[in-house]
Symmetry: C2
Subunit: 264 residues, 2 copies
């Protein structure tokens, strides 16, 4: 075999292997050419309390969606190194206040769902998002107490409330109604910072569990399950309108509707 | 030089050069080590009709939020090259059906807001999101007609409706009520695919305009503006509760409330 022939073969085969090897090496902190991050991202076990504290701090930097998303995705990225650490985490700041203060989906839920979507697809993603959102609707929040509160004095007695909704506007209005603090008060901002920590911690705990075989612990609320038995796809009642929703129905719709139907 | 020596030298030098060359060819024009993508991303002018068609196709791949986000961010990334093209666009698939079919924020609005958040921060981001969401509430949609419909026969007469809401559940229910097609029908899936194209195109048009000095053309709805004059931060009516919301209020709250207040 002449050098020329050998060289061509080597370029065709050996050098490709060399390029792959180089790519594998770089992934780490040493530098060189960074390979593309894989999708979905590989997950790494997280310390729930550390995620909560990080989320609470990140909330003060760029809001609620960023707080949850950055605490989870950023904590995993720190363990994975480049190029994962180069992800534009600030992107998620758009979801603050239910997206640019529109009061739609609570930024903590949006951020948790986005983080889940970084590590899971298909049925697992849906099951994990279901768990976070159904828990958020039903739980009295906030529960988290920071080591050093940022917007209220140390020892402040934080009221909690059940949102019965994953919508920012409803969640805040319920808390304000329960606590007596106005929706733009420092106490409410502090409340949302703690909810950020709660949701980030809860989602991180689920993601930790979901590394192996994963069995969902909670799906949607009993209320929605009941309503959707007549109103979802494949419903029992052919004349009832279908509804694309897993939200707790009776937060907006009157319960009377179903009671009347049941009497018939 | 023996084959063996040549081979070692080639592994040591030539192959590294080959690997770099491969990297250069794949990545940006200059090559070598791929730099981290900057945040916010630089923007590139987009062809609105091409974005619409791409969004319509992407919707069929991974849903409404992905459809809008991928069409905008992916089209810009194609012009920027690596590492922007390596962004995990599939991440945005979590928002389909108002996030995992929960019916919360319409995935087209979530995807447009996320795309806007990739290129803008602060007041510009808020102003652009305001424009998209207020337009979505008020516009009769869908308006887009694809070159080749994917879920209905060619020539299908697509009904349109005004959502009066940015929530998926409300938007779909309104359209189903207007059109008579069920919420899980192929016609409704087609409708959402066309709304994906509409929102992606509208947001791309705004982003094109917002490259230079940007003056918002539309803020929030007159309804919300009116209600928030008493219910927002810095409100005129000190005894009214504050509301964190820019959504059209009267879609969920009764108008009677304000009419009574005005009589007093």
């Amino acid at each position: 075999m002449s050098h020329e022939v050998f060289r061509r073969e080597f370029i065709g085969l050996g050098c490709t292997a060399g390029a792959l090897w180089l790519g594998a090496r770089v992934g780490s902190a040493e530098g060189g050419q960074a390979p593309a991050a894989s999708y979905p991202w590989p997950y790494r076990q997280l310390d729930v309390r550390k995620v909560q504290e990080r989320a609470y701090r990140s909330y003060s930097k760029a809001g609620c969606m960023f707080g949850v998303f950055e605490a989870i995705a950023g904590s995993v990225a720190d363990q994975l190194g480049r190029p994962y650490t180069e992800f534009p985490f600030e992107l998620s700041a758009y979801g603050g206040g239910g997206v640019a203060s529109w009061g739609t989906l609570c930024g903590t839920c949006n951020g948790a769902a986005m983080a889940i979507g970084l590590f899971h697809q298909g049925q697992n993603r849906t099951a994990l998002i279901n768990e976070v959102l159904a828990w958020y609707e039903a739980e009295r929040l906030p529960a988290f107490t920071p080591d050093a509160p940022s917007k209220v004095p140390a020892g402040f007695a934080m009221p909690s409330s059940r949102a019965d909704s994953v919508l920012c506007h409803v969640s805040i209005s319920r808390w304000s109604g329960t606590s007596g603090y106005a929706s733009f008060s420092p106490e409410r901002l502090e409340r949302c910072g703690r909810v950020v920590a709660d949701v980030a911690g809860y989602a991180a705990g689920l993601l930790n569990k979901a590394r192996g075989a994963y069995t969902p612990g909670r799906t949607i609320s009993d209320t929605a399950t009941g309503c959707l038995s007549c109103h979802a796809q494949g419903k029992q009642a052919p004349n009832e309108p279908e509804a694309v929703s897993r939200m707790s129905c009776t937060t907006c719709h009157e319960k009377a509707h179903h009671q009347e139907k049941k009497k018939q």
